[in-house]
Amino acid sequence: MVKGNWALFEEDFWAINTILQSLIQTSSSKSVMLIDKTGQLISSIGEPPGFDVTQGTNESMYLSLIANRVILVVLFDRKTSLGLVRLKARRGGEELLSVLNKLFDKLQYKNEEISAATLGAEFTAEAESEIDSLFKE
């Protein structure tokens, strides 16, 4: 397993987005997201998740774990059914699994290279001054 930072390459990003796009269309869902198990958003398609997931909304959520480290989230409402969402999510999940497995292989190989490419002192300085100007009373 790859530890530390993880990076997406452009080709994988598009492959993932294509799968999510097709999932949202064929299942008539509202939005589909792929989230790393640590809570990092990898990609999202459809209506931005305006979810104040409190009581009383008509939205439902379907979750499934892929490759034991990525969570596929499908938000849907009464326009579709759980059965259809589950079916399409399974199919999409299988496609994602094959893209992700290839990605993990690549990462294992490239990870050293990536972590060596540090962001540098200028990045830190600029980010710090942005923090000072935005995070205040």
Binding site: F13, G39, T54, L119, T124, E130, K136
Partner: protein
């Protein structure tokens, strides 16, 4: 474990607010949400019970904008402080880049702070993480209340590693941004 995405050029860092039930974690995030510019903040997501106790987590994304070509964000999470939600706490700690521990300064809550701190160390250990290697900031909250533990005593018990600490009254916003800023800067240091 920050997610640096080189193709879309994004950096996302995860900061978790930890601490015992009712210590003021959600209040910290609410204050931040109410004061940062609208373009900086995303939607705050709160999964709460009717009594306003955090059920799973609160989530507030903050966006610094483009820094040297990277869209840079901090994702703030709070854990539910109530003892029986440990599974959620453990899950939320996964992949954490920085931790703010919010302690409740009230004398009656002293034990609860210690318990929560120990619980945090246990949960970190389960993820193979070590507090010594994680950017960490301590916040002594509710300093406005009459019966509070002196800061020196809190320091001795909860902050043996002498991480930066701030006294706070989160309800009024005092100390909230000082805490956040130092936490974010410590996290950035680990990236740079």
């Amino acid at each position: 474990m920050s997610l640096i995405n080189y193709s879309s050029r994004e950096i996302n860092c995860k900061i978790v607010y930890y601490g015992p039930g009712l210590c003021g974690k959600t209040t910290n995030l609410q204050h931040i949400y109410s004061r940062v510019p609208q373009e900086t903040r995303g939607k705050m997501i709160s999964l709460a019970t009717e009594m306003d106790r955090t059920l799973f987590f609160d989530f507030l994304p903050l966006e610094l904008g483009q820094i040297r070509g990277f869209r840079t964000r901090f994702h703030l999470y709070t854990v539910p402080g109530q003892v029986y939600y440990n599974a959620s706490r453990k899950l939320i700690l996964k992949g954490v880049d920085g931790i703010v521990f919010v302690a409740d300064s009230q004398i009656d809550r002293f034990e609860a702070n210690v318990e929560s701190y120990m619980n945090m160390l246990d949960n970190l250990t389960e993820h193979d993480l070590n507090l010594e290697r994680i950017p960490f900031v301590m916040q002594y909250n509710k300093r406005d209340l009459p019966r509070v533990v002196p800061v020196d005593d809190l320091e001795r018990e909860l902050n043996p590693r002498k991480a930066p600490y701030f006294e706070a009254v989160a309800l009024r916003g005092t100390g909230v941004f000082d805490t956040l800023k130092v936490a974010c800067k410590l996290v950035l240091k680990t990236l740079g």
